[in-house]
Symmetry: C2
Subunit: 378 residues, 2 copies
C-alpha cells in the first residue's frame, strides 16, 4: 500500500445476497436465477439525505475494486484509483461512490464459475445468458439494499458506459447525471466480430470441455488468445508503434524461429498469461455476449425513442485514437440526445492511447468530470 | 467456366524445379534449401525482344492462379481475373503476365507441407523460415528459366506489394515499373500483433502437434480462428456495418445461446471453415513470419537509402478505409521516393471495403493501372 494523501486507503469488499428461491431474479432472456450475490465496494460517506451517491460501472475485465487497497501489503490500487479519492474527479470528500462486480463476472458476484446450489457444482454453461440490462437491474438491487433511491451520477467507460446509458434510459427517475466514456449505444458488426473471435479461441481450446473445466485444467491458451485479441483492440496503431515499434525482444537480429521475437509479441503473451490467472474463461464468453446483445434503442424502437424519457444530464467523452468505439459512435449518442433537447456535454480528447485512454488519460478526464459534476445541482 | 470475351480462358499451371543438392538455394536466414519447385501460370504472349513481361505478386493466401479457368467445369476464375485479360488493366493483348506461388506456400510451390527428399516426409517445422527477399529471389529463378532479364512491371497488393517493393530495390536494373497496392514498406507493431495472434491460434490447437499433423487430423479450429482474425482486418468497420450490421442469422430474436446468432459471426465461421480446406496451417505461420520480418529499409540503413538505387517508375495506391495498411504507410513510400527524386504516382482511392479493396475496387483500379502502364516506355 502506497502512502498517498489522495488515496481512499484500505477498503473492505462487501456482499449482498438476494433472489433466494422461490423469489428468483427474472433475467432479460426470460430465464430465472437465484440466489444472487453481488460483490461491491464503497468509498466516501453517504450524506444524510442520501443524495450524493455515484455508481461507478466497470468495463469488461474490471471488478468492484475501483480504488484504494485491499490490505496493508497490497501494492496495486483499484482500477480507477487515479479518478477516485479525496480531491480527485470522483471526490470522496463530496460523493459516496459505489462500485460492484457485474453479474456474470468472476470477481465476487454470481457468474458461471459460482456454485449452483441446486447441483452443488459450478454453473458452467447452465448459467443463463445475461445482458447489460441484467447488470443494471442487479445493481438496482444493491441500491435498494443501501437505501438509495436516486443517483447523483452513473459513470463508466467502455462496457461501463453501456451500463450508464442503460441506467439513464431504464431508470430515468433515478439518474441525475450520466458519464459515458469511450463507449457506444450499440455493438457494431466489427465489435461483434472481435468478440466472436475471442469466444472461438476459448471454445476451441480442448481444455474448455464445453465449459466444464472447473477443478481441472483450465482453457488457458484459448483465454490468453482472447485477451491478446482484446489488447490489440484496446491499443491504437500509433500507441503500439510508440510503445513497441519493430523492436526485438532481448536480441539484436532476427532469430528466424517461432519464438516471440518482437517486443509486441512478448507483451501480448505476457498480458494473455497474466489475465488467465485472474479471469474465468466462461465469464469471458458470457460477458462478451452481453456486449454483443447491447443495442440501447432496440427495446424502444430506436435510439431517439430510447432517450425520450431520460432526465439525466449527460457527459460523453470519446478519444481520438479509440478505434474499438470510435468517436462517431459517441457523436451518434450526442446527436440523438441533442435532437431530444437533452442536456449533453461532449468532448473528444485528442490522445494516442486508443480505447484504453479512459483508464490512462486521467488528468484531462479528471478536470472534465470534476467540472461536469460540479454543475449538477446537489 | 464462364463465357467472357475478356477472359484469358483455360490456363495450365506449370512448374520449374531448381536448387538440386548440392546446389541448394541460399536463403536470407543463412539456411539452405533444395530442391525447390515453383508453380506458375502465364497469360498473354512474350514478345520477341522479351520486353513486355509483368510479374504479378500474390498476397498472403493467394496463389499462382491469377486469371482464367483451370478446367472447362471450373466455376471460379483466378483471384485477379477482373484485372487480367484481353483489354483489361493487365492487358494480355499487350503484356506477358507471370504469376507464381510464393516459396513457403501450399499451392504448388515448395513449402512446409512439401516432402523433404532427405526424409521422405513433409518438412513441417524443419522447413527454414523464409522472407520476402527469398520470395523475390526464387521468382528471379523463374524469370531466368523463362529467359526474361527485364520486367516491364512488377505489381501486387498487400504482401504482393511488399514483394514488388523488394523487387524494385533488390533488382533495380530489372524493374522498369512497380505497382504497389494497399501495402507498406514495413510491418508495424499492430500488424505483427495480428499475425502473432493468428500464429498463437494455430499453434495452440492441440492437433497442430508442433507442426507434425500431416496425414493426421489437421489443426482446423486454430487455422479457422487465424483466418477469422485475418478477415476482420481485411474488412473495414464501415464495410462490416453495411454488409452485416447487427442482423441476426436466420432468426428474429436473440436466442440467448452461444450459437452464431449474428450474421457477421456466421460469415466469419464460414470463411474460416472454407479456408481450412485449401490452406496449410504451417504455410500460414511461415508466411506470416515473412511479413513480420519485412522492413524494406533495414538492410540499407533506412528507407531513403533503400530507394536510392531504384530505377523503376512507381504507382502507389492506397484505400481510404484500409486500416491494416493505412494510407499513411503508402504516403511514407511516396514521400521517400519523392525525396529521392524518383518518378512516383500516388492515388488514394476513397472506398469503404477496407484492405480487401485491391481485390474488389477493380474498376477504378483498372483505369489507373492501364494509364500508368501506358506511360511506361515499351
Amino acid at each position: 500500500m502506497k502512502k498517498d494523501d489522495h488515496s481512499v486507503g484500505l477498503v473492505t469488499p462487501k456482499n449482498i445476497f438476494f433472489a433466494e428461491p422461490p423469489n428468483e431474479f427474472q433475467l432479460e432472456s426470460g430465464k430465472k436465477l437465484g440466489p444472487i450475490n453481488i460483490r461491491y465496494e464503497t468509498y466516501g460517506v453517504l450524506n444524510v439525505d442520501r443524495s450524493n451517491a455515484i455508481l461507478l460501472l466497470h468495463a469488461f475485465s474490471g471488478d468492484a475494486h475501483a480504488a484504494g487497497y485491499l490490505s496493508e501489503t497490497d501494492k496495486t490500487p483499484g482500477w480507477w484509483d487515479a479518478m477516485v479519492g479525496p480531491g480527485k474527479a470522483f471526490d470522496t470528500d463530496k460523493y459516496f461512490l459505489i462500485c460492484s462486480n457485474i453479474i456474470g463476472g468472476c470477481q465476487g458476484s454470481t457468474g458461471p464459475s459460482s456454485i449452483n446450489p441446486q447441483t452443488g457444482k459450478p454453473y458452467a454453461l447452465s448459467f443463463p445468458l445475461i445482458t447489460i440490462n441484467d447488470m443494471v437491474l442487479t445493481q438496482n438491487e444493491l441500491l435498494n439494499h443501501l437505501g438509495i433511491s436516486e443517483l447523483f451520477a452513473v459513470a463508466g467507460g467502455s462496457m461501463g458506459g453501456m451500463q450508464a446509458l442503460e441506467w439513464s434510459v431504464y431508470f430515468p427517475e433515478k439518474v441525475r447525471s450520466a458519464i459515458i466514456l469511450a463507449s457506444t449505444a450499440r455493438m457494431t458488426a466489427q465489435g461483434i466480430a472481435f468478440n466472436a473471435l475471442s469466444r472461438n479461441a476459448i471454445m476451441s481450446d480442448f481444455r474448455w470441455q464445453n465449459g466444464n473445466y472447473y477443478g481441472k485444467e483450465i482453457p488457458a491458451r484459448g483465454l490468453a488468445i482472447a485477451r491478446m485479441a482484446g489488447h490489440i483492440t484496446y491499443l491504437s496503431d500509433e500507441a503500439m508503434h510508440k510503445k513497441f515499434g519493430r523492436r526485438l525482444q532481448s536480441r539484436e537480429e532476427y532469430g528466424y524461429d517461432f519464438s516471440n521475437e518482437f517486443e509486441v509479441e512478448s507483451y501480448l503473451q505476457y498480458q494473455g498469461d497474466k489475465f488467465v490467472e485472474r479471469f474465468d474463461a466462461n465469464s469471458y464468453i458470457y460477458i462478451s455476449k452481453a456486449m454483443d446483445y447491447f443495442d440501447l434503442g432496440a427495446r424502444f424502437g430506436g435510439l431517439n425513442e430510447a432517450f425520450a424519457g431520460t432526465r439525466a444530464k449527460f457527459l460523453v467523452v470519446s478519444y481520438s485514437s479509440d478505434w474499438l468505439y470510435p468517436s462517431y459512435q459517441s457523436k451518434e449518442i450526442v446527436f440523438t440526445l441533442t435532437k431530444n433537447r437533452k442536456d449533453v456535454s461532449y468532448i473528444e480528447i485528442n490522445c494516442p492511447y486508443g480505447h484504453d485512454s479512459f483508464l490512462l488519460e486521467t488528468d484531462r478526464q479528471s478536470s472534465i468530470i470534476s467540472s461536469f459534476l460540479g454543475g449538477i445541482r446537489g
